[in-house]
Symmetry: C2
Subunit: 279 residues, 2 copies
């Protein structure tokens, strides 16, 4: 039987549709959710992400602001800007784009954001996107053995924390494996749900996956490809072509977890605006 | 071969010995580490814990204060007291004893403590005690398969977060199992290191443990015992008598993790005082 290919774009579109209804209710209560992104310096990747987030907010009908600060901004100036946004009732979500220049402590910047406005942090976007992809594709993690390969602070660790909770969309038995794991394949092979988040191109091969498992690929890796005009193509952490032959469901790269990220950011901003009405 | 019985009392005494040397250096720099405990209401268990912590601080030579507030203290009054302690340079560690009365949000109280003074939170005492017990008994978790049975917010989850880090005394492949785990024994049986923290008397039986494993028992359960004057005795989450016959090392209850907890609180307070000198 052919594996279900989990279509992240379609799931993200469904989430945006639901958000439109919540947004309409907020607007009719006089609240337009607003997202402020703070961009320090001119890292091209960061500029692109912030631009995409702004366009997605615009398209959804959220208020949005991009605050650009020079690369040599001293830490107190950034913290003062965050404090101003914390105090601004029109701003429901604040996003300090990383990486930050070396004179600024990422931890200090993250801690400065009012927790009620920290849309990046209260449900980190990629982990929340993985959970939504699972649940909305009919693969609820409750009671399942989930193995997460990779322990990054932005994916592996927060995803483990989400999935092990006694809560809906969670309640899984969670293992976090990584570079120091003595037998990675022994762990991946027993997973009902395998999340690949190591950042190693196509490292998860078919022999490392159980028949009938569900596989979510968080990897985004560029590998050389002479047949492409750009000279490279993007692959995940999973050997998709081989693994899809034995699993029940698998998310592709691109088109799996990627499209979920911005949808979750919008969702977090709308949620923050809803909370602001309750207090 | 007889199992190593991991003696928590002896390890805790060694830690206190080391702390005395660090304390002497601090005092010679003009800093006496100080621990403030805030006790709201008259829960007898909380009173006992706070008393034990005060006595241990006294015995170690730390400054210590117990702030007692009535059971009907409004949340703003508690937060104001915490703010006062945050601002007091003589106070290096602040401990808001839980449980708190219903009119006070535990989360708000915990978030109010200056992170640099949050001795309960930056290395939660029981999880940090488990890590020290492992390392100091010669059972470093690095590269090992660790299975934690139990996902409480005060033990299972923070211990998992500690052990999965890429750091000394950590770097383990960590699984968190719990009440929704479909086959608990399948997980416990593959553990190199098994941490029992479910709060279920002697639930881990010998058939659930691998030959030669290391077992840390966090459980503290009272079971009826007619032969005792009190009518009960204290047992852990592990069937100690049977399990010790097949493992490499095991911590008993009482005398294992228990004695470590207060030693770690003292250690966290001394550490906070050392950090205060650096900034």
């Amino acid at each position: 039987m052919a594996a279900q290919i989990i279509d992240g774009k379609a799931v993200a579109d469904r989430i945006r549709e639901e958000l439109r209804a919540r947004l309409a209710r907020l607007v009719s209560s006089g609240v337009r959710p607003g997202l402020a992104a703070v961009l320090v310096g001119d890292n091209p990747g960061s500029q692109l992400y912030v631009k995409m987030k702004g366009e997605a907010s615009e398209e959804m009908g959220l208020a949005h602001w991009t605050i650009r600060m020079p690369a040599d901004t001293p830490q107190p100036a950034l913290l003062a800007e965050v404090a101003r946004l914390n105090a601004d009732p029109q701003v429901h979500g604040i996003l300090v784009q990383q990486p930050l220049p070396p004179q600024i402590s990422t931890e200090a910047a993250v801690l400065a954001v009012d927790p009620r406005k920290d849309v990046d942090c209260f449900h980190p976007e990629t982990p929340a996107g993985v959970v939504e992809l699972l649940v909305r594709s009919g693969n609820d993690p409750a009671g399942k053995d989930v193995v997460i390969a990779g322990r990054s602070n932005i994916v592996g660790k927060p995803l483990a924390a989400l999935l092990m909770q006694k809560a809906p969309k969670a309640n899984a038995t969670v293992t976090v494996a990584h570079s120091a794991t003595k037998d990675l394949a022994a762990h991946t092979r027993r997973a009902d749900i395998l999340v690949a988040a190591m950042g190693a191109p196509r490292m998860i091969t078919a022999d490392m996956v159980k028949d009938g498992a569900v596989v979510i690929d968080v990897g985004i890796n560029r590998i050389p490809d002479a047949t492409k005009k750009s000279g490279y193509r993007t692959v995940g952490d999973v050997d998709f072509a081989a693994v899809k032959e034995k699993v029940r469901a698998i998310s592709p790269v691109p088109g799996g977890v990627g499209p979920m990220t911005i949808a979750m950011l919008l969702s977090n901003t709308v949620h923050a605006a809803e909370l602001s009405l309750q207090t």
